[in-house]
């Protein structure tokens, strides 16, 4: 009973800071002033919004997967280092997070631009005759977003990997498993949950992104958050709320599916052993 009492401040905080605002968003999207689905109809029937919605999900999924492919090996590398060296390596991973996203995005302009570092170097060594268009493309959006999201994935993977008992790997090796097999049979299943969680966090954060696509993307790289912010500043709150609801529901649905699937996968692995 006493344990439950200590939960009350936390519950009150979440209710006031989170549940009530979300409730207001739902109310704004669904009642204008009486119940109507007009805003959702507008979303579904105007071509642009559906396209932007799918584009958002696709970009977020690609960013999350690329982060996983790059971030997981980095986290694995760090966790295999002697514990005394790990804090420094993690420090290097975290340093970029202290810089403003805006500044980092502008920095990409200097790197990817027509007269940017990459094009200048390629021109100088004669690999290309004319500058390649990299800035203001979907590729630039991926590069910019992956760079921002990568530390989040590495940190999540790393913290779940440190909980794995390293002697299990040694035991597997003593029992005759090759290094590759020891990794695949022991380390990978144990670290899978952290990796999936990290990927999901990156995916969810990407869904709400708008600075990077707005600054270094092409004309088609518009994400839902850009549209919502436009609608808010045009004081179309009802429609902005409806778009936010669509995004929230879609995110929750995807989250549920991935969580269920991954729980089955992890559980299945545990049974197999």
């Amino acid at each position: 009973m006493r344990k439950r009492l200590t939960l009350i401040p936390g519950i009150v905080l979440i209710a006031v800071m989170f549940l009530i605002p979300v409730g207001i968003v739902f109310q704004q999207g669904l009642f204008d002033p009486v119940f109507s689905l007009d805003h959702f109809e507008r979303f579904a029937t105007r071509g642009a919004y559906m396209r932007i919605f799918w584009n958002t999900l696709q970009v977020s999924a690609v960013v999350a997967l690329v982060c996983l492919l790059i971030g997981y090996p980095i986290a694995y590398f760090i966790v295999r280092q002697p514990p005394s060296r790990r804090p420094f390596l993690m420090f290097l991973v975290l340093v970029p997070m202290w810089m403003s996203i805006l500044a980092r995005t502008y920095a990409w302009m200097v790197v990817l631009g027509k007269e940017g570092i990459i094009n200048q170097s390629l021109l100088a060594v004669g690999l290309i005759d004319a500058p390649i268009k990299m800035l203001f493309t979907t590729g630039a959006v991926y590069v910019g977003m992956v760079q921002i999201m990568l530390p989040i994935l590495i940190v999540t993977c790393f913290s779940s990997m440190t909980e794995i008992d390293q002697s299990l790997l040694r035991a597997a090796r003593i029992m005759g498993a090759s290094p590759r097999k020891a990794f695949r049979e022991v380390f990978l299943p144990l670290s899978a949950e952290g990796a999936i969680t990290g990927t999901l966090i990156v995916f969810i954060l990407s869904i709400g992104f708008f600075i990077v696509p707005a600054l270094i993307g092409g004309r088609k790289d518009v994400l839902m958050a850009n549209v919502i912010s436009n609608q808010v500043s045009q004081t179309n709150w009802g429609f902005a709320a409806a778009l936010a609801i669509v995004l929230l529901v879609a995110t929750l649905a995807i989250l549920t599916v991935v969580r269920t699937a991954s729980a089955k996968l992890v559980h299945h692995n545990e049974e197999a052993h």
Binding site: R46, M109, G113, K133, R219, N230, S233, T235
Partner: protein
């Protein structure tokens, strides 16, 4: 009463009066912060406080239309005077979130032109969306002087940028298509006129390197050589030219926009607000001082008598520059933005 006690009494009462004045007489001004607020503090706020005892509490705000809406919905007004861009003004004015202004009291000597005195706002400053040209990237012996030239990719090859929104671009397209700046909004008010503007934009679309969304972007792209020609806000290009980048402003066909000041509906200090607006708008000397620090001139008569010519020619309302430009119609956009913005989003995706 001795001399000393008299003095003490005087000091005490003066201190009391001052503190009472301080408590009562502050005015909350919703501006845009940053460098502009610094300049306004020196030119308007501090002398205003010295003369009237009213302290101006200047806030750095953005997205003011939705903030005003929130205040009206909640019935709790946190601002007295607000600085508004054209769309914010149109939204606020059409929704009735602004107090009417008494111009006989604000401008008793008639130093402001009628255009600057709206029923519920005053035009405090102007800027213009102009065409910025990297002069070193122009073809030998050629000058880019109009939006028709901007559309002419044969004569003027090179990267181009425009802002990612219908405002300005539909006007520029019609001007490039031969519509006189004065007739732009008559044409744009019709369905055929809008089709005509989008059809003209179709022609230039493949040649646009980037559709910018923040005012710093065209500046960055010009200085990096990413594009040779772009629409941009005049003040930023003046700064860029001062930094030594070979850029020039082409004023012809530019869209002049106003920065409005207005009193928020329900403010308890409407009278003080009017005094502040009057102080800000009706002195050519002060306005000249302001415009010499940021190139966003006011509309008060006699302004250019107080500004050195070489600075004056860099400003949108200077007699040399004003003729080829049009004034962005805030009310037209207030009414049509939602619809045209949707069409724009569809168009940009195609």
């Amino acid at each position: 009463m001795t001399q000393l006690s008299k003095l003490t009494a005087l000091t005490v009462s003066a201190t009391l009066a001052a503190s009472v004045a301080f408590a009562d007489d502050t005015l909350t001004y919703a501006g845009s912060g940053g460098g502009l607020a610094q300049v306004m503090k020196g030119v308007f706020d501090d002398p205003f406080a010295a003369e009237t005892g009213v302290t101006v509490n200047a806030l750095a705000t953005s997205d003011r239309a939705s903030a005003l809406k929130a205040m009206q919905v909640a019935g709790k007004v946190a601002w007295d005077v607000a600085e508004l861009n054209p769309i914010e003004y149109a939204t606020a004015s059409l929704s009735g979130w602004l107090e009417p202004l008494d111009w006989a009291a604000i401008d008793p000597d008639g130093v402001l032109p009628q255009d600057a005195k709206l029923a519920d706002a005053g035009i405090a400053a102007t800027f213009s969306t102009i065409m910025a040209v990297r002069t070193d990237q122009l073809p030998e012996g050629k000058q880019m002087t109009s939006w028709a030239d901007f559309w002419d990719v044969e004569t003027f090859p090179g990267g181009r940028a425009l802002q990612n929104q219908p405002i300005d671009n539909l006007e520029f397209a019609l001007i490039a298509d031969g519509v006189a700046p004065a007739d732009v909004y008559t044409v744009l008010a019709t369905e055929e006129g809008q089709d005509r503007a989008f059809a003209k934009l179709d022609e230039i679309k493949p040649y646009i390197t980037a559709w910018w969304t923040a005012g710093a972007q065209p500046v960055q792209m010009l200085s990096d050589g990413e594009v040779a020609y772009t629409s941009a806000w005049n003040g930023r290009i003046t700064k860029l030219a001062e930094e030594g980048v070979p850029v020039e402003i082409n004023w012809n066909g530019g869209g002049i926009k106003a920065s409005y000041v207005a009193i928020v509906k329900g403010s308890e200090k409407a009278d003080l607000g009017q005094k502040y607006i009057s102080y800000m708008m009706t002195s050519p000397e002060r306005s000249a001082q302001f415009a010499s620090m940021v190139p966003y001139p006011a509309m008060v008569k006699g302004l250019y008598d107080h500004i050195p010519e070489e600075k004056g020619v860099m400003m949108p309302t200077h007699p040399n520059n004003i003729d080829g430009q049009f004034v962005t119609d805030a009310v037209f956009w207030g009414k049509n933005l939602s619809e045209l913005k949707e069409r724009w989003e569809d168009w940009i995706f195609e």
